[in-house]
């Protein structure tokens, strides 16, 4: 009597396949015209509009008494918006579509580990988010003449706020992708959320000028903290006094964003399924 033996897959393939997924994801991302515009180029478009429209206005003075331009004032907010769009908006819509169009069903029938799929998505967000941030910085510097930080400490802060922010945003995007029932409704569900967050979190409107209650609401969500972390890097030191509590509060940035990261991971772990399997 012969029995069927199923060979074991070699160990260590989860990371290797994760890498292969990243390449595949980045490639398809840039071939999707609408995602490139609405998530990748959107912050740059907004920065350009604001910098041009308010080019003759001053947004305050730095310690040396020089005017802060619109471009300099809006740059940190646009970097934070980029984190939200590249991570949360992009993945929530993307994965809802993949669930709808059969991509996930197909992957579910292959020996691809779920973790490799996640690595692919988060890796795609890291790569495209980094490219987006570099593009924003280069355009801000070269086109709009924004002075960038010269001290390593500022760039160090930028580095951890970026990595923590983009990862949290990606994980929350995966978690949120469960909500839309169909791929068609995904943008209708996701875009209002990201749009409202951007308006109340100091991306388009100066956070200091929002009423206290709205500031308190925004403080629950991570975007306000990411934007605050970015302001600490790119705005003059004397702007710190305009922040709530008169401080950049980087510990708060790390804490609130970190809590959202953990919550997002738990929700993903509990709710992610390749397909809506009946039972």
């Amino acid at each position: 009597m012969t029995t069927i033996t199923i060979p074991r897959l070699p160990a260590g393939r989860t990371l290797r396949l994760g890498g292969s997924r990243v390449v595949n994801e980045v490639r398809t991302y840039f071939r999707q015209g609408d995602s490139v515009f609405f998530t990748f180029l959107f912050p740059l478009v907004m920065l350009t509009i604001f910098s041009t429209a308010f080019s003759d206005q001053s947004f305050g003075k730095d310690a040396a008494g020089d005017d802060v331009t619109a471009a300099a004032f809006y740059l940190p907010g646009m970097l934070a918006a980029g984190l939200l769009l590249s991570g949360l908006q992009n993945l929530a819509v993307d994965i809802a579509n993949e669930r709808s169009d059969g991509t996930l069903k197909r992957l579910a029938g292959t020996p691809l580990p779920v973790v490799s799929y996640f690595i692919g998505k988060i890796g795609q967000v890291l790569v495209t988010g980094a490219a987006q941030a570099v593009l924003l910085l280069v355009v801000a510097r070269l086109v709009f003449g924004v002075a960038l930080p010269t001290d390593p400490g500022g760039w160090l802060t930028f580095g951890w706020v970026f990595v923590l922010g983009v990862t949290t945003s990606a994980v929350l995007g995966i978690a949120l992708s469960r909500v839309p029932r169909t791929g068609k409704s995904a943008t209708a569900v996701v875009i209002p959320i990201t749009l409202v967050l951007q308006f109340i979190s100091g991306v388009y409107l100066s956070f200091a000028q929002l009423p206290d209650w709205l500031q308190n609401v925004a403080s629950v969500f991570p975007l306000k903290w990411m934007a605050q972390g970015m302001r600490s890097v790119f705005l003059p030191e004397n702007f710190e006094s305009a922040e709530p509590g008169g401080s950049w509060d980087l510990a708060g940035v790390a804490l609130v964003t970190g809590v959202w990261l953990v919550v997002g991971l738990v929700v993903c772990r509990m709710t992610f399924r390749w397909i809506r399997k009946d039972s």
Partner: protein, 307 residues
Amino acid sequence: MTISDAAISVRDLRKTYGKFTALDGVTFDIQRGETFALLGPNGAGKSTTIEILEGYRDRTSGEASVLGVDPGIGSLDWKAQLGIVLQSTGESGNVTVREQLAHFAGFYPNPRPVDEVIAAVGLEQKAGTLIRKLSGGQRRRVDVALGIVGNPALLFLDEPTTGFDPESRRQFWELIRSLKREGTTILLTTHYLDEAANLGDRAGIIAGGKLIDIGTIDAIGGADARVPVVRWVERGVVREERTASPSTLVARLVRDNGGAELDTLEVVRPSLEDIYLELVAAYEATAPAIDTHSTESTREQTEEVAK
């Protein structure tokens, strides 16, 4: 052969969605290396059966074993042995044929060479084309290619040739025959009975969630269903007679006709399609009357839920 030789073994498989019974006690075995065709009308339970065996749906009750494993809890090791061609395709397709196949090949421990697979499905000219720019039939061939690139021991084909032109269908049959020669076990559902007759070793016919017949292609339906029909024209009127001894009948007709040739004489053995249609019609005549319209819509809803 022993039970453990079976690539697929199903016992009293049931699946209900609320009040709707999609599968009502289905039992069959598929041996290793065998090509088994699962036939039946739309909504009969073919895809439900195949998707339970692929691990996509949970069964309500009964036993199922696929390569010795319960498909409800199949591991990645188990999935590495399967090739799955689903009924529907529809990915956004922003990758080329070769990119997609090379990517999927990487998931498997012992994949087939990508260019060989592309040639096997006849897409050499389209290897560098984005999948979304392909025609429906060409995309279907990509689905088949993705199903075989992992060199599966067991291949599921759910209506694989829908949208194929006749030439590509013949080419696909050749591909399946070569996989059979290599020892691949194949479970096929199809609406083309000639396809089932050409490729299948055995067939099962499913209707209303029940397996109404199962057997080798040349025995299904039983001896009675295979009785040939003799057809001829007599004084401008088409006459036909079913008989187990057609030669005797023809000899008698010729004698009666004074030894002259009979006009438009035919001796026709029922095709698998004829037998299939007769079996399904006989089942539907005896089955409890169901409002087909409402069953259809229930079915669509459950499909929706299952996705």
